[in-house]
Symmetry: C2
C-alpha cells in the first residue's frame, strides 16, 4: 500500500502527463502539488526506488506501468465518490472535489466494488470525466472542445475542462448542463465568441467558456 502523499503525487503526474507526454518537470509537479521543487525531488526519488515512476536526474518523470495503475485506481475512486456525493447526498457539482480528495484514499477493495454497484456502474463523474473501470480502462469518446466547432455544427455537452466553482456556477446560472444538445448558430471570427442554441434558448458565450466545454460529436 502507498501513503496518501505518494498517491497524490502519482495522480498529479498522471494528470500532467497529458500536457507533457515527454516527461513531467519538477517545477510543473511542484506547482500542481502546491509544494516546493526540492520536496518534489525528494518524493520522486522515493517513487523511483519503488519503481512507480521512471526518473533520470534533470529529465522529468513518467509513470511506470504499476505507477499508472495506482494513479488510475485513485482517480477511479475519486470519481465514483463524486457521483455518490451528487447523486445520493445531493451535493452540487462544484462542492464535491475537496471531499472526494479525502475519500479517494480510503483503502478497501470491497468498498469501491460495492460503491460502484450501488451507483449502478456509472461511466462518468458529475463533471463529465470518464470513470475508469476496475481494470483501469477509460472509455474513449471522440470529444472536442466546443471552441473547435464552427457555425452550424452541433453536439452533446459531455464534460468540462476546468472544474472551478466559478465556472461550474456560471454553467448552472446559464442552464448549461451535461447531456444537453448545443447547436452553434453564429461564431464571431474576431473574438471567437459564439451564439448557441440550448434547448430552444439562445445564448451568447465567450471563447473562454467554449474553450472549457467538451462536446461529443455524433
Amino acid at each position: 500500500m502507498f501513503s496518501l502523499s505518494e498517491e497524490n503525487y502519482l495522480k498529479a503526474i498522471f494528470h500532467l502527463e497529458r500536457a507533457f507526454p515527454a516527461g513531467v518537470s519538477t517545477n510543473a509537479l511542484a506547482d500542481e502539488m502546491n509544494t516546493k521543487a526540492s520536496s518534489v525531488t525528494d518524493m520522486i526519488k522515493k517513487l523511483s526506488e519503488k519503481k512507480l515512476v521512471d526518473y533520470k536526474k534533470y529529465q522529468g518523470v513518467k509513470l511506470s506501468e504499476p505507477g499508472r495503475e495506482t494513479a488510475v485506481n485513485v482517480i477511479r475512486k475519486h470519481r465514483l465518490w463524486e457521483v455518490f456525493l451528487v447523486e445520493k447526498l445531493g451535493f452540487a457539482w462544484d462542492e464535491v472535489h475537496e471531499v472526494a480528495e479525502q475519500l479517494e484514499h480510503i483503502k478497501s477493495e470491497k468498498l469501491i466494488k460495492e460503491l460502484d454497484r450501488f451507483l449502478d456502474f456509472p461511466k462518468r463523474d458529475p463533471h463529465g470525466d470518464p470513470i475508469p473501470d476496475s481494470k483501469g480502462n477509460f472509455i474513449n469518446s471522440n470529444k472536442v472542445l466546443l471552441a473547435e466547432l464552427n457555425k452550424g455544427e452541433s453536439g452533446i455537452c459531455i464534460g468540462v475542462k476546468v472544474s472551478s466553482p466559478e465556472f461550474l456556477q456560471y454553467l448552472d446560472k446559464n442552464k448549461i448542463a451535461l447531456g444537453q444538445l448545443i447547436v452553434i448558430l453564429e461564431k464571431e471570427s474576431f473574438d471567437q465568441s459564439m451564439l448557441i442554441n440550448l434547448n430552444g434558448k439562445e445564448l451568447k458565450i465567450s471563447n473562454v467558456i467554449s474553450s472549457n466545454l467538451y462536446i461529443k460529436i455524433s
Copy 2:
C-alpha cells in the same frame, strides 16, 4: 482541525473512560492504541497543551469538554458510516469496522449531515451501539447484559458488547439478531448457561455468549 492520530487518541480515551472514570492510565491507553507507553505520554502532552484533555503527570488523563465533543463526533461519524456500509453497500456487520475506522476521519460537516439524512437519521449502528446526534447526545436506553437476567425474564436484543468477527458470526449462525425477543426458559446455576427462546426456537447458550449481548428490558 485535529490530526488522525489525535482523533484516535481522543476516541480511545472516551471509550476507556467508561471503565476508568477516575482517569485513563498511560498503559491502558497504550494497550488500546497498540503503541508504547512513551508514545502515549508524548501524545497526551500534546493533547493537554491543546486543552483537549486534563492531565497531571502520573495521574492519568480525562477528556476536557472540547475533547469529549471531538471524540463523540468521531464516534458519530464512525457509526453512521457503519450503517451506510451495511444498509446501502451490503457489508456484513463483522466487516465494517476497519473501513469505518478510515471513513470516520473524513472532514466535511456537510458530508456527515447529508449522510445522516440519506440514512434516515439512524439511532443505532449495526452492532446496536447508539449513534450520538449532531449535538453529541446519546440516547440512553436501559440496557442490561443478557447474563444479568434470570429464568422467566425477557427482553429485546439491542446490542453486542464485543464486536469481534468470531462473535458476530456465531450470532449469525445461530440466528440471533438485533431487535429479536429473547425469553429465558432455563438458567443453569452451575455454569450460568441458559436455554432461551428465540422466535419460537430454543437455543442453549453459554455464559460467555450471554455476557456479551445487551438486552433492552421493557
